[in-house]
Each structure stands twice: as structure tokens, then as C-alpha cells.
Amino acid sequence: MNIFNKIKNSGAVVFAFVMLLVSCNKLYTDPTPLAVPANPSGNNLAKTVAATASDSLYYKLILKSGILTATPATITDSTLRFTMFVPDNNAMKVFINAISGGLVPLAAPDAAFAGFISSTSPNYIPAATALAIVSYNIIPQAITTASFPTSFPNIIYPSIFNPAPPLSSLLRLDLYPSKRSTASYVNNVPLSSSDALASNGVIHHVPALLTPPSTYLWDRINADPDMTYFKAAILRADSGSVTPGPLQSALLNIGANLTVFIPTDSALRAAITGQITLALIAQGVPPATAAPTAAALASTPAVFSNPALYSSLTPAIVSGLVAYHILGTRAFTVNFPTTAATVYTLIGGPPYPGLSIQATFTGPFVTAATVKGAANTTASNLLLDPTPSTGKSDQNYLNGAIHKIDQALRPQ
């Protein structure tokens, strides 16, 4: 019996030990979920704007747009993420003053501006226009300035504004956030304050309201009285093609995204005159005769359609000249580098010649900008005037930006 007791006792100890060990078996079968960013608490974008007194006029525009009650929800939905560019009340006043044709003076009380916005008069701000403006100022991602691009030219961020749903449900107008030195921009507008976080996104304030472009590059070129030579050059370059030709089509294509440096008529006339003069001298015409002859020939944009000059202004030559004035990306002057850098045009990348561009900043503002062709002896100046629609620089269109310049660009 003694041995039984020993066995029993030692067996009990062993059994207890084994039980202890066995209970430790581990089995890993379940995956470890990745951390999913939680929805931050606090006000959503809409409520944040509503709660900011200095944004009250823009909030009126938001209310007018109907975006707060639209389906599907956007800036009221805490599960989504947006970036809003919000003009403060001062910016809104400038805007309303402008579109009201001075009907609402800048010194008017806030209620007058609010009343103008809220008015149901179709002559003031239609709801569809308000929605277009508000939508255009919203990017469907939360982008803080820390992730704004710092290199030329920028990154394209679509807004949530689709200007032509029948064309494509995915179509969106774009915004171009960027950062240079300490200033941040959207398109060519410097941010007045940035990175105000809401539960579903981020708000950046702008000192001027960004309105969505509604016309194409070609529309401006076609209508601007100081771009007639450039327009004629485009038509000459496209001659022989089914209308509209390739260049015109690009300038009319909503899918394109271009920067067009457009010499003023006088600048392009001077350049063409010079080219014709050289051609005449090469043909044996004395320089004294050649210069006035060339000036007469180039005195109107019809120079590009003059049959006498067909052999020297061939579509290929003119096409190359025009393409050398166009970049395949949209660049605002604030995107230009502060030291001259080469960018390439629609002619092509290396070994084709590029353009040398440069901007000078004073604070966040560009006070000078140049672009120089490979064969130009001096850089041409951008004519700085960013007034929307009628200005000369940073003219934003559906498919690109236009900067007027004071010299034609010469690749060779």
C-alpha cells in the first residue's frame, strides 16, 4: 500500500503540474486588425463654419447652396473627410460687392450682405451658383498644409464640384493647393489661416473667394482683343486639320490641364515681324526694305493666313511656336520657383528645349515673374494682374491657366 500512496501522491503532483502547463496552450488564429482612424469628436465642418462668427457670410452661402440638406450628405457627415476653403466675411463682402455691381457697398452692415446672399431673387445669387461655389471650395480629402506640395507646380486635387454631370459622373473641377516657403496657397490665393480641424476635415481660410471657372482657355483666347495674334497662330497651326484642330481642341478640352503663356499682340507681332524680316533678308531683300515690308506683312493677325508667307509660316513651324508657349500642367505664378528652373513644354521633354521660369515673392505675394525661351536673349515678363476673367496673370479656366507675357518665347 505504501507504494500506492507514493504513486498516488506523486501522481497528483505530476497531474497538477501537467494541468498547469496544459492550461497555457496558446493558439493564434485571429488576425490583428489594423488601426482604423477613429472619427474625431467635435463639430463637423458645417457646424464649425456656423460657429465661427467671422465666417457667417460664407455660412449664409452654404445655407443658400442647400448642401447641408443634400443627399448624399457631405460636410455634415462625420464619416467622410473634406477640406474646405472658407473666405472670411471681409472676403465675402468684396465678392458680394463685386457681383452686385456695387449694389451692396463694402461699408454696408453685415446684414445687408447676408440679405443679398439669402435673397431668393434670381438676380442675386441663385442657389445653383451658391452650390457650385461652395462645392468648388471643398476637396474630398482632409489635407492639412503639412501635406501641401512644395515642388513645382503643385498637385491636382479635385473639388466635389462636377460642372457637367451628363459628361461624366466622375468629372470634377480641380483645386491646386501648394506651399512655398512659409506661405500656403490654393490656386494663386494665399491662405489667411490654415489647418482648423473639424471632426470630418480641415478648414483653411482664404482672403478671397475662389469661384469656379466656367469657360475654357480657348474661350478667353478667342475673345481677348489682345490675344488675336496668338489665336491666329493657333488656327494656322491647326490648318489642314478637321476643325477644331488639335491645339484648339486641347484648349477646349475639359480633360486638359495646361498653362499657356500668351504673348500680347504687340509682343507676338514684334516677334513675327522680326522673323519675316530675317526671312526677307535671307532672300536677298535689303535690310532697309525688309524691315518695313515685314512690319506691313505682320501688321495684322492675318499674317498667319497670308498665302505669301505659307512657305515660311508653315503649320508645323507655327504649331511648334505655339506649343512652346504651353506647359502640360497648370501652374500659377505662386508655383514658380524663386530661382530659375527649366520646365518643359508641349514640344516635349529633353532633348527639346524647355523654358526657364522664375518668380519673386514679397511676403506671400508674387511681385515679379519671368519666363524665358531657350533662344530668347532676355526673359519675358509675366504681366501681373490676377483679376479674375479680365486680368493678365493667373487667369484660371476649366482646363488651365493663362499668363500674358511681354515677349514671345523662342525655342531656337
Binding site: I3, F4, I7, G11, V14, F15, V18, M19, L21, V22, S23, C24, N25, K26, L27, Y28, T29, D30, P31, T32, P33, L34, A35, V36, P37, P72, T74, I75, D77, T79, L80, R81, F82, I138, P140, Q141, I155, I156, Y157, P158, I160, S168, S169, L170, L171, R172, D174, N200, G201, N253, I254, G255, A256, N257
Partner: protein, 922 residues
């Protein structure tokens, strides 16, 4: 004519003398009973002393012995587990009654495999483990394969309930090709599939006489393949083990319904052996196992590069590129930025810039939605074994055997993928002549993969059959469009991915639905070579071998045995596994060996020298020597030293496999013809790093394949410290040369250079999206070194109690600087408390075994990762009814239902509880 008549007369006279001699024989009958339980003891050897005459008791303990000796004669009664007894027989008037006294069998077992001649286990020159039929009967294991797990130094990799791969001394894997399994003298490895099928096709449990395990290099005697050991499973001879016996085991599994619902386990075995005459005997056996298999249920996320990878965080909900280990179909992955966005930007140029901003411009890798293993692998494991043999004694010493083992069933195997082996059929058939001094054997292994399929590839193809991945309306395109649309509406990346998956998966066949089943059956029934998942493997092996013991002629000098073999593989997969779409591929091998053993210093030292030469038609010949020495330090106490070598030729798959395993990855063999076929040199390939580093920048050169070899040095001791205490210990050191492994090379996509690939990989691109990956066999140039030790004790206590335990360790000292897939726990051990007979008439018995192995890193082609430590408790209680020759056993494998895995991607093994009823099991 007259001369012929004289010969005829002489023959007649000889015949008459023969008849006369026959007429002078005597017949001794009797019965052998256990002195304790009084039950008849079957299979007891009864021989006439100083004579070759002998027989065995039948299932009732009765014997009938015919001898030409005159009375009185002395009978020698012997059997393992009993004290050998001599009985004088002076009269035939009544049957001889023998009271057979149980005795300790510690150290008394005889083994054959260690030297290919019978010898006491205590005197084995190399480490050896032996499992007898009695051990199997008393083991707390539901199948005899599970008993192997309790042996010292043995790891078992469990792919599924009936697919278990024992390994010794490292390099564990499902279907280990470094460990030979020889069943009744036949190599049990499926010649095409390259894994041993002992659990599926081997012997039925009631027909297993003994299992001998030789851990360590053993090619010198058993030929190529025994790098890390050899398992020899021997069946019962029908002359010795007679009668009808059967066992019915009924059990339950999945009791906690954690992975499957509670399910029954059935295991029915029957064996019938009959000695028809003193010359002729036969046996036939059947075994049926049916159950719901263990389930592979590792849902963890896996970052896969060809056959390499690692477990990473993430699940289906949070990682768009989730690839669950036991989730299939989600291996199909693509970077939608590089594969779909360009098309979107082409159609909608205004989106290009936006698309560039998504995910910070990095690749957006997305995988297709997969299905769980329970959805795609047949849960019904079924195994049906049929075996039979005809034994005919050509003389008192020479026996002819015609035998066959055939098996079929469903099981699951883990290779480079998970494979559902469905209706697998393998037959092994042999004819053998056995004599104490020589042996001649010819056998064939006939393999038929049945309806087996690659679960991973098949499921991926099911996804493709439902909705193609590529194309403008393909799954990835739909996903990308929905993703972009959601992002344009302000959705976060996470929300957009979720919405995109939901959109692309609209109409996806639900697991278990008729639509899914129809698609799945459609795909799995199409051969791999025609774009499906079905194997058509019917590879066969033919072997002839012989051995002669020259000792009767050379005894004065040394005991010498010689032997040789010829082997032919015929690969036949119709292009579904091998590169044999144009016809069968033959591979020939031959080998020869010799061994000389000499006892010195009055049998204190026994020295043995062996050598073997083998040649495969595709590789240079290999010579493997072995030198062993046994020193008797005291009676029943021996020290052993051995220098052994072993090698293996690249397996048939390592020579000729040509299998697309998805993920743009092709497994290919080392045969040089693959280089031209895949333009591997004209369109160069570059070796991928297996540690996450950059790929090689110079083209891979495809050196010639060579046989892998190992040299081991071993020191051991085995002895009886007291008559009840057996101790065995060993330590070894091994060095592998030309170690065979697989490496991944990448053939960059057209127009892409390795510099582009390097750069893209650094940005998070997936290698398989940058080019085609080939997994190619290779030999290391550096040596792989291993070492380890093991020790066991077996202590017999009074009243039938016994305790035992063992601890062993295997270590990788030097992996040679490459992925060697050691995959072995550093320590493992087990402890057993048992009694084979207590209580009234010693009818009751029990066995409790605790097993443990520590955590280790498993490196397999299907999955890599840390395998947690395993603690398992097995137990059984049995009770015998001697008068009815029956026994009842209640037992449990993994009593506490602690699920475990012993290889990444393998099934989760839980508790199996059973009750067994056995009749005439001996």
C-alpha cells in the same frame, strides 16, 4: 536411356524415404496461458530445442507442432513480455499446458533495422526506438501514427487528421523528404507527390507488428533519402498472428464547436489471418476511418512573396490587401494604382492628378475576397485501407510473400499550398523471398491522385470564373472605380476601400451556395494544365532489391552482408504536376551496399563498417560510408559511437515539377530543360532576398543540381541500470553539404529592368506584380550544421506500473546564410505514467502521457511564423474480458481539448475522445 532409368529409381527411393521420414514425425499440441490472467497468450513462439522446428500459438494460445524429433523433446516457449520457459515433453497423451509468466521486457526487444540483421536493442550501434504491437495497444493514441509522437526526438507535423508527418533531427515539414518511411520493406513515399503516405495507405493498425525508428542519417543501409532518419513499419506474419480480430473505435471531435460543429469519429479495423497448412498462410485486413477533419483556421494576415512571406497585422476589414493564411482566393492581388488607374486616367484625364494624390502616390495593393478553408476543403476525411498477403514456406527457412497494401480516401496536405487530396489512391504490391541469409524483393508503388486539387489555386480560379480579375469590367477595375468614386465623395481611404470591395463583390457566390458549389466543382474538375485545379498524377515507382548475409561463409573474419537495388520512377501527371505534358518521364536509380561487423575483445567491442554507392541517371553517383562501434561497458549496458553519412538526390518534384501556384509564381524543377523552356537565361532572372532586402542585381546563373548529403557523428548509451530501469541517451552533430532548398527568382516584366524592380519594391510594390516569380531548387555552397541530444528513462514499478519520460533537443548551429527551413522546436519531451494490468486479474490498464514542445519558428513554403508551445495530455483506460477475448478502451487524444498547430497553415488539432471495443487484439 538406362542411365535415365537409374536416376528415376533414385528419385523414387528418395521420395519413399521422404514419406518414410514424414511418417516418423510427432505432433505436439498444447496451450499457453498467462499465469496471472489465465488467458491464452497468442503469437507465442514455440520451438523444439536444438531444432529448426517451430510454430506460434493461435489466438487462443493453442499450438500444434510437428517435428521429426523423437520423444522426449524440450519446447522453448518465448514471447516479448514473458519470461522464456522450457518445457520437457515426454508423452503425447495429453496437450502440454504452459503457464507463461509475465516478465519485464526492458531491453529485451530485438531490432533489425539498425544493422539489417536481428540484434538486441541494447546492442544497437545507432540510436533506435521501437514500438511494439503491445505498445500500440496500450498507447493513449487513436492511431498508431500518433504513437510516434511520443518517441524520443520525434516531431509530428499534422496537416490534418490522417496526414501526419513524423520528423527527426530537424527540418520538420509536411511530407518531409529527409525521412524515409519503409512499410514492410517498401518505401512508402508517394513517388509523384513526394510525401510518405503511411497514414493513408500503410498498414492497418491491427496488422502492425512493430515500428522501428532510426533517427539520424541512415542512407548507408537504406539508400537515398534517409538524411534525418528512417521509420520501418513491419506487419504481422500470418503464421505467427492468426485468427480474426477487429476493433471498433467510435469517438467525437470538435467538441467545443470552436472550428466545426461536434462531429463523430469512426475507426473500424478488421484483420483475419489463417495458417492453412504448415506452408501456407494468408492474411487480409481492412481499416476505415471517417470523420470531420480538423480545420485549418489561421486567419492571420500573410505578406506573401512566392513561397516566402511573413505574418503581418491586418484583417479583411482593415487591410485591403489582406491574405489570410487559411483563407483562399485572396492571394490574387494587384496594385490598382499601376494596373487600373492609368486606364481610368485615360478615360477621364481630369482625374489623373487626383489619382496621383491617393495613398500619397504609393501603390494601392488590393486582394480579392477569399473563402475560408471550411468553404473549399471537403470536411469529410475518409480513409479506407485494404491489405492482404499470402505467405508460402518454400522450406523451413525460406518464405515467399505476395502482399499488397491499397488505400484510398480524402485528406488534406500542406505543401506550397493547401491541397485537398480527394479520392487519392495508392497501392503498393510486392513479391518477396525471405531467408535468414538472404532476401529478394520486388515491389511497385502505383499512385493515383484521384480528384485531388490545390485548394488555393482552385479557389482563386473560382473567383476568376465568377468575375475575372482583369479587363475593363474586371473585379479590380470595378473596385478601383468604386474606390475613386468614394474618394471623390469625401470617403476616407478606409471607407472607400470598404465601399469598393462591397461594390466589386456584388453577386459574389456565397460560400456554401449552389452557385459556389457549381463553380467550385467545375474548376476543380478541370486539370491544372487546362486552367483548373485538378491533379492527374499517376506516377509510379518500380523497385527490386536483394540482400545476402555472407556471415556463414565469412564468420571467421567478420559478419558480412551485401545488397543492392534498382529503382525506376515513371512520372505521369499529364502536365498537371510535372513537365510531362508530352509524355511520361523515367528516372532510374541503382545502388549497392555492404556491411562488415566484427566482434573484438571477447565481444566487448563490436565494430561495423558499411558503405553504399548509389547513382541516379540525372546526378553523379554518391558513396556513403558508415562506421559504428558498440562497447559493452557492463552486461546490458552499452556505449555506441557512430559516424554516418546520408544523402538524397533531389526528389522527383525537385527535378521535374512544373506547377503554377498562383501569385504569378511557378514552381519548377532543377532539370536544365526548364532554362530554355522559360528563357531563364535569355530573359534573365534575379534572385529575390528572403530577408526583405533588395533583389540581386546580377542575373541568376542556375548552377547544376546536386545530391544533398549529411555527415553525422553520434555518441550514445543504452543500458539497464537496474532490471527495471532502462536509460537511453544520445548526442549528435551533423553537417549538411549541398543542402537542397528552394529560392525565388524574378523575371522582370517586359520593358522593366531589375533596377526598376528594386526601386518599386522599395516603394511597397508586390514582387509578383513586377515580374514572374520562379521557385527553383538550389544547393547551398555553405554548410548547414545541426546538433542535438536526447535522453529517456523507462522505469517499471511493481504491480504493473511504469513511468517513463524523455527530453530531446535539436538545434540549428549554422543555417549557411540562407533559408534552411529548420522549423523545429529546440526542446520537446514527454512523460508517461502507465499500467498494463491492475485490479482484478490485472484486467484494467491505463496510460497517461503528457507531451510538450517549446515555441519555434516554422518556415514552410505555405506559411512562415512562430508556432506557439504545445502542451498535450493523452490518456486511455482499458479493461479486458479474457474469456470473451475482448477489451474495451476509453481514451482521448488531447484530453483537455487544447487546440494546437505544429506548422503554420496546418489544421488546428483539438481533442478526440473515443471508446474502442476490440476483439482478439494481440
Amino acid at each position: 536411356m538406362r542411365k535415365n532409368q537409374r536416376y528415376l529409381a533414385l528419385l523414387l527411393i528418395a521420395a519413399l524415404f521422404s514419406f518414410t521420414a514424414a511418417a516418423q514425425t510427432i505432433t505436439v499440441t498444447g496451450n499457453v496461458k498467462n499465469s496471472g490472467s489465465k488467458e491464452g497468450v497468442p503469437a507465442v513462439s514455440v520451438t523444439v530445442k536444438n531444432s529448426s522446428a517451430g510454430t506460434f500459438t493461435n489466438e487462443k494460445g493453442d499450438f500444434k507442432l510437428v517435428t521429426s524429433q523423437k520423444l522426449p523433446v524440450t519446447l522453448v516457449i518465448s514471447s516479448i513480455g514473458f519470461a522464456t520457459k522450457e518445457v520437457d515433453v515426454a508423452s503425447l497423451s495429453s496437450p502440454v499446458q504452459v503457464d507463461f509468466v509475465p516478465a519485464s521486457s526492458l531491453g529485451a526487444e530485438v531490432v533489425i533495422s539498425a544493422s539489417r540483421v536481428p540484434q538486441r536493442i541494447l546492442e544497437s550501434p545507432v540510436s533506435i526506438e521501437r514500438v511494439s504491437a503491445a505498445n500500440i495497444r496500450n498507447a493513449p493514441a487513436v492511431s498508431y501514427y500518433d504513437v510516434l509522437a511520443n518517441l524520443k526526438g520525434v516531431d509530428v507535423v499534422t496537416s490534418s487528421l490522417t496526414f501526419k508527418t513524423p520528423s527527426t533531427r530537424g527540418f520538420n515539414a509536411s511530407g518531409n523528404t529527409r525521412l524515409n518511411q519503409i512499410v514492410d520493406g517498401m518505401d512508402n513515399q508517394a513517388p509523384g507527390l513526394n510525401f510518405s503516405v503511411g497514414g493513408v495507405v500503410g498498414l492497418t493498425e491491427l496488422d502492425v507488428d512493430n515500428i522501428e525508428l532510426l533517427p539520424g542519417a541512415s542512407s548507408a543501409l537504406y539508400g537515398p533519402g534517409g538524411m534525418n532518419g528512417t521509420i520501418l513499419i513491419n506487419s504481422k506474419n500470418p503464421f505467427k498472428y492468426q485468427g480474426l480480430s477487429f476493433e471498433v473505435k467510435e469517438g467525437i471531435m470538435n467538441t467545443d464547436s470552436r472550428f466545426r460543429s461536434v462531429s463523430p469519429y469512426h475507426n473500424w479495423t478488421v484483420r483475419w489471418a489463417q495458417k492453412i497448412s504448415d506452408k501456407l498462410a494468408f492474411k487480409i485486413g481492412m481499416e476505415l476511418v471517417a470523420a470531420k477533419d480538423w480545420l485549418g483556421y489561421d486567419q492571420r494576415n500573410y505578406s506573401r512573396t512566392g513561397t516566402n512571406g511573413q505574418i503581418i497585422p491586418g484583417d479583411r476589414a482593415t487591410d485591403p490587401n489582406y491574405d489570410g493564411i487559411n483563407v483562399y482566393g485572396d492571394e490574387t492581388t494587384a496594385d490598382i494604382r499601376s494596373n487600373v488607374f492609368p486606364g481610368l486616367a485615360g478615360q477621364a484625364p481630369f482625374l489623373k492628378g487626383f489619382l496621383d494624390t491617393l495613398n500619397g502616390g504609393k501603390p494601392i495593393n488590393v486582394s480579392r475576397t477569399g473563402y475560408k478553408e471550411s468553404d473549399v476543403v471537403n470536411p469529410n476525411t475518409l480513409n479506407y485501407k485494404l491489405s492482404g498477403a499470402l505467405h508460402y514456406k518454400l522450406s523451413s527457412k525460406t518464405e515467399a510473400i505476395l502482399a499488397g497494401h491499397w488505400g484510398t480516401g480524402n485528406t488534406v496536405y500542406t505543401g506550397s499550398e493547401r491541397y485537398s487530396l480527394k479520392d487519392l489512391k495508392i497501392g503498393q504490391y510486392k513479391i518477396e523471398l525471405n531467408n535468414p541469409n538472404w532476401m529478394l524483393r520486388a515491389y511497385t508503388t502505383q499512385e493515383d491522385a484521384g480528384e485531388s486539387y490545390n485548394a488555393t489555386v482552385t479557389t482563386r480560379l473560382v473567383n476568376e470564373a465568377w468575375k475575372p480579375s482583369t479587363g475593363s469590367t474586371g473585379w479590380f477595375s470595378q473596385y478601383a472605380q468604386a474606390y475613386v468614386g468614394a474618394r471623390l465623395n469625401g470617403a476616407t481611404d478606409f471607407a472607400a476601400q470598404t465601399q469598393a470591395r462591397a461594390f466589386a463583390d456584388v453577386g459574389r457566390p456565397a460560400a456554401g451556395s449552389d452557385q459556389f458549389k457549381t463553380l467550385f466543382d467545375q474548376v476543380r474538375s478541370v486539370p491544372i494544365s487546362k486552367g483548373g485545379g485538378l491533379f492527374l498524377d499517376k506516377t509510379n515507382l518500380y523497385m527490386i532489391e536483394g540482400q545476402a548475409n555472407l556471415s556463414p561463409y565469412t564468420k571467421s573474419f567478420a559478419d558480412i552482408i551485401i545488397g543492392g537495388n534498382y529503382k525506376r520512377y515513371v512520372l505521369n501527371s499529364e502536365g498537371t504536376l510535372f513537365a510531362d505534358s508530352t509524355g511520361k518521364i523515367g528516372i532510374n536509380e541503382f545502388g549497392a551496399y555492404a556491411q562488415a561487423t566484427k566482434s573484438l575483445f571477447n565481444d566487448v567491442v563490436k565494430l561495423s563498417v558499411s558503405g553504399r554507392y548509389d547513382k541516379n541517371q540525372n546526378f553523379k553517383g554518391k558513396f556513403t560510408p558508415r562506421v559504428t562501434m558498440v562497447i559493452k561497458v557492463a552486461e546490458n549496458n552499452n556505449l555506441r559511437f557512430s559516424y554516418q553519412s546520408a544523402y538524397r538526390f533531389p526528389s522527383t518534384q525537385q527535378q521535374w515539377i512544373n506547377l503554377n501556384i498562383g501569385s504569378n509564381t511557378q514552381l519548377i524543377g532543377g532539370n536544365k530543360s526548364f532554362i530554355d523552356y522559360y528563357n531563364l537565361k535569355s530573359n534573365p532572372t534575379y534572385e529575390l532576398s528572403n530577408t526583405g532586402g533588395p533583389p540581386a542585381q546580377t542575373a541568376y546563373t542556375y548552377p547544376d543540381s546536386k545530391a544533398e548529403s549529411v555527415t553525422t557523428y553520434e555518441l550514445g548509451y543504452k543500458g539497464l541500470l537496474t532490471k527495471n530501469l532502462l536509460v537511453d541517451a544520445y548526442a549528435y552533430y551533423g553537417e549538411y553539404s549541398d543542402f537542397l532548398y528552394r529560392t525565388l527568382v524574378l523575371q522582370p516584366n517586359a520593358g522593366t529592368t531589375i533596377i526598376n524592380v528594386d526601386s518599386a519594391l522599395a516603394k511597397g510594390a508586390i514582387a509578383s506584380n513586377l515580374g514572374r516569380i520562379f521557385s527553383v531548387p538550389a544547393n547551398t555552397t555553405s554548410k548547414v550544421k545541426t546538433y542535438g541530444f536526447g535522453a529517456s528513462i523507462d522505469y517499471r514499478l511493481p504491480l504493473g506500473f511504469s513511468i517513463g519520460g524523455n527530453l530531446s533537443s535539436d538545434n540549428l548551429k549554422d543555417d549557411g546564410g540562407f533559408r534552411s527551413s529548420f522549423s523545429t522546436p529546440k526542446y520537446r519531451g514527454n512523460f508517461t505514467l502507465a499500467n498494463t494490468g491492475f485490479g482484478t486479474s490485472r484486467r484494467a490498464g491505463f496510460n497517461i502521457t503528457y507531451r510538450w514542445q517549446n515555441s519555434f519558428y516554422y518556415d514552410g513554403d505555405f506559411g512562415n511564423g512562430q508556432v506557439p508551445a504545445v502542451h498535450t495530455l493523452d490518456a486511455q483506460f482499458s479493461y479486458k474480458f479474457p474469456s470473451a477475448k475482448t477489451a474495451v478502451k476509453i481514451g482521448a487524444n488531447n484530453l483537455l481539448n487544447q487546440y494546437y498547430i505544429n506548422g503554420i497553415g496546418n489544421s488546428m488539432v483539438g481533442g478526440l475522445y473515443y471508446v474502442a471495443f476490440a476483439y482478439n487484439v494481440f
